[in-house]
């Protein structure tokens, strides 16, 4: 079994000493030292771009540090050698979700270690058995591991990747797995799935294994971790036992500023006349939804995974074919994304990298794309200067941290990438803002900026439709919440006075109904 290290009584210790890594102008890590032990959950916190993932890539041997060393129980580990790190008992779940198209679940679970073999050839039965057993440890027994990974939903894919680290495959002479490094594992999980992960983490530490846990979700960290390390701008700020640290202190150390609350203050109720009205809206995955959205209103959309939150936004944008009537300020809403943007809808998609940004292109290009016709002379001749000015102004409005608007989006941290998409949405002075998981993977500081931005827009009369699986976010921001279940409207509530437990009950109640 993996995680057997505790048996000797002495928990293994991994020392990271003075690790530095620079990318061009960015000092992503600056002499960071850290000690990780078996038997505890060690949280790693920091704003977007603080260097968390960079540190993890160094630990995994995927990248070499410019300076510094790593040692396990005093013995130095070679840099840039993924196999050696595996042999040292380290297991990784990296940040971005990576399913390999065309390979089965079981094969995806064996990506980072050799397949079981018989006579030199792949032993398929053993492969599938190992994968199924690992999944069973997470309580998943009804999943056919021979299915293609890409057939699964995001949550299930994440479960499979977590399970993959539990496969017992230490080779001869290797140290059994004892340190599990998880970079935002719950970002794509539902509450239920996350619970199961937490149970597994509990089991691992009980057996003497250690976990390095990265998350932007404060409640999870407070609940799971024994110690917490904060990075800021690539530098180590502090490592403290969690018992001695409160949420405020962590946030202060992460951001370097005091954020007294997670959400900006509510002003007077800004809700005005109806702007967007949908009657009997149906689309693939949606059945007969009626929605009224008022100007200045923030309307949350909640539900279990696959309930149709994303589909609702996509149907409004016209990227899913829809039936039923939808009017915007009394006029029928167009059926293509181009018409929707033109009429004053703005959309921030769920997967910013694949659905929103042109990663290799300048920030300006992403920002101006939906508004090209408006930003050009006669709708045809480009005006690069005007596009640049708009991008610069909006960049300031959303507090974008970038060298210039000519910088490529891929060089920005996740939170700043999300801000680029907000800038893009604002460039058209929208009447209705459609947000799909707008703060996924965004740090608390940037989240606060975004929340304030959303509030500010609402105060100016913009109607906001906010689809999110982050319940505190829905409750903290929205005036009203729609509850979806299997593509149908299962409830509609004012959020005033509602608690997280109420909302959860409503979501699950919808399922029971």
């Amino acid at each position: 079994m993996s995680g057997a290290a505790g048996r000797t009584g002495e928990a293994p210790v991994l020392h990271l000493e003075g690790l530095s890594r620079r990318f061009g102008q960015v000092q992503a890590l600056d002499r960071v030292s850290l000690t990780l032990r078996g038997g505890e959950v060690h949280a790693l916190m920091g704003e977007n771009g603080a260097g968390k993932s960079t540190l993890i890539r160094l630990m995994a041997g995927l990248d070499r540090p410019d300076a510094g060393r790593m040692a396990l129980d005093g013995a130095a580990l070679p840099p840039g050698a993924p196999a050696a790190m595996r042999a040292a008992g380290l297991r990784f779940i990296h940040q971005e979700l990576h399913a390999v198209r065309g390979l089965s679940v079981a094969e995806n679970m064996h990506l980072d270690h050799p397949y079981p073999r018989r006579a030199g050839l792949v032993h398929w039965r053993a492969l599938n058995r190992a994968a199924a057993e690992a999944l069973a440890r997470l309580g998943v027994t009804d999943l056919d591991v021979r299915r293609p990974m890409t057939d699964l939903g995001t949550g299930q894919q994440m479960i499979a990747r977590i399970a993959a680290t539990l496969i017992d495959d230490a080779g001869a002479g290797d140290r059994p797995a004892w340190l599990y490094v998880m970079d935002e594992p719950t970002a794509a999980l539902t509450g239920e799935e996350a619970e199961r992960l937490f149970e597994v983490i509990g089991g691992l530490t009980a057996r003497g294994a250690g976990v390095l846990y990265v998350s932007h979700r404060m409640p999870e960290v407070l609940r799971l971790a024994q110690r917490v390390t904060v990075l800021r701008d690539g530098r180590h700020i502090s490592t403290l036992p969690l018992a001695e640290t409160g949420q405020e202190r962590i946030i202060r150390e992460m951001t370097g500023r005091d954020l007294s609350a997670l959400f900006p203050e509510r002003g007077p109720d800004p809700r005005g006349a109806p702007v967007l009205e949908a009657r009997g809206l149906s689309a693939p995955g949606l059945h007969g939804i009626d929605v009224t959205l008022r100007s200045g209103e923030i309307l949350g959309v909640a539900g279990l995974a696959g309930a149709g939150r994303g589909a609702l936004l996509r149907a409004l944008m016209g990227t899913l074919p829809r039936t039923g009537t939808v009017t915007l300020a009394g006029a029928p809403l167009g059926r293509t994304p181009a018409q929707a943007w033109r009429q004053g809808l703005a959309y921030i998609p769920r997967e910013r990298r694949s659905e929103g940004l042109m990663l290799r292109r300048a920030i300006t290009e992403t920002v101006s794309l939906p508004h090209l016709a408006r930003l050009s002379r006669a709708g045809l001749w480009l005006s690069p200067r005007r596009q640049r000015e708009i991008a610069e102004r909006l960049g300031r409005d959303v507090r974008l941290k970038a060298a210039s608007v000519a910088q490529a989006c891929e060089e920005l941290s996740g939170g700043n990438q999300q801000k680029v998409l907000f800038a893009r949405a604002l460039a058209g002075r929208p009447r209705v803002l459609l947000l799909d998981e707008p703060t996924r993977g965004v740090d608390v500081g940037a989240k606060f900026d975004l929340y304030r931005l959303i509030r500010g827009l609402a105060a100016e009369g913009v109607a906001v439709l906010l689809a999110s699986s982050d319940l505190p976010e829905v409750l903290g921001l929205a005036d009203r919440v729609l509850i979806l279940h299997e593509g149908r409207l299962a409830g509609e509530r004012e959020t005033a006075g509602m608690t997280e437990a109420d909302l959860l009950a409503a979501i699950y109640g919808a399922r029971a109904a």
Partner: protein, 324 residues
């Protein structure tokens, strides 16, 4: 800064090639006559490469341009044989280019076939059609109107050098016109910007309201017409048409676009950079021939130079992104 170095590295390489020939062939290389000649020699390639740039901007390819060029030439020639006037026959050939390009566009953007496969198949279809129409023959001699062949030989006179008229070749002028059109469309219009957006992230472009299907379709039509123009230029130059004569243009045009991409920020295709690539290839052929380099060795050298240019650029780019 490093990006700048890389790009200037590429440009410097091209300048170095020109200087090398200028020094090695002091009397003949850097003469107006020779340089004009080079522009004429590469004019057909320039047209194909420029319009190929239009689809490559979206991250697509069109492998059928060569056989479309052959087909267009053969169509014009057969229309001449059928007694059509020159303008009518040219219009007919261009219409074939447009239809072929639209067909490619439909296959790629509506049916959803990968451009590589779709245009590989239409390459075969167009080539077969060229053979069918011409019955596999070279159409030449009396069948081709005098004026058609004369066009490629003519051009406005710009000077008299050594008692011989120095012409600005008509083919060069045609190529310049096509390049200008492509440049304006790609760099100065929202249409072009949207094509670049498709290349940047197709999914994001769809969600941002870019009519991706219509644009891809039209871009392939553009490339089809460009290939037909080049085919007509070729037919005029050789005053004849045969069903394989344009085939060699395709790979060379793609090579020119890639060579040009080493010069641009971010390694995107841009039409002026493509032209630098085309001229480099043309100058290499011209200079190495004049230096009596064996034609086979010339081929090896051209391949090696492309590899060196693209390789240096790739390494520079990678250095920029870190050692990842």
């Amino acid at each position: 800064m490093r990006a700048g170095l890389r790009r200037f590295g590429g440009l410097a390489g091209m300048v170095a090639i020109v200087l090398f020939f200028a020094v090695s062939l002091p009397d003949t290389f850097l003469t107006a006559r020779n340089l004009l000649n080079v522009t004429q020699q590469v004019s057909m390639l320039a047209v194909v490469a420029a319009t190929m740039t239009v689809v490559m901007v979206m991250g697509d390819f069109d492998l059928s341009v060569g056989s479309m060029a052959s087909l267009a030439g053969v169509v014009a020639a057969m229309l001449f044989v059928a007694g059509w006037s020159i303008p009518a026959a040219l219009a007919g050939a261009l219409a074939v280019g447009l239809l072929g390009g639209l067909f490619n566009g439909v296959m790629v953007s509506l049916v959803g076939i990968l451009p590589f496969v779709a245009t590989l198949a239409t390459l075969t279809v167009f080539s077969g059609a060229a053979f069918l129409i011409s019955d596999g023959r070279t159409i030449f001699g009396r069948d081709i109107p005098e004026a058609f062949g004369a066009f490629a030989r003519g051009g406005p006179q710009v000077a008299t050098v050594d008692d011989r008229a120095l012409l600005l070749p008509n083919l060069t002028l045609v190529a310049l016109a096509v390049i200008l059109v492509v440049w304006v469309v790609l760099e100065q219009t929202t249409y072009g910007r949207r094509l670049y957006a498709i290349g940047g992230n197709r999914e994001a472009a769809v969600l941002a309201g870019v009519p991706v299907r219509a644009l891809r379709l039209s871009a392939f039509a553009f490339t089809g017409v460009g290939a037909a123009v080049a085919g007509l230029m070729y037919a005029s130059r050789v005053a004849s048409a045969n069903p394989t004569q344009g085939d060699g243009l395709m790979l060379t045009a793609i090579a020119a676009v890639f060579l040009g991409m080493t010069l641009t920020r971010d390694g995107q295709p841009r039409v002026l950079a493509t032209m630098a690539g085309v001229l480099t290839l043309g100058v290499l052929d011209n200079g190495l021939t004049q230096m009596r380099v064996d034609s086979y060795l010339r081929e090896v050298l051209v391949g090696a130079i492309i590899l060196a240019a693209v390789g240096l650029s790739a390494m520079g780019r990678r250095g920029l992104r870190g050692r990842g």
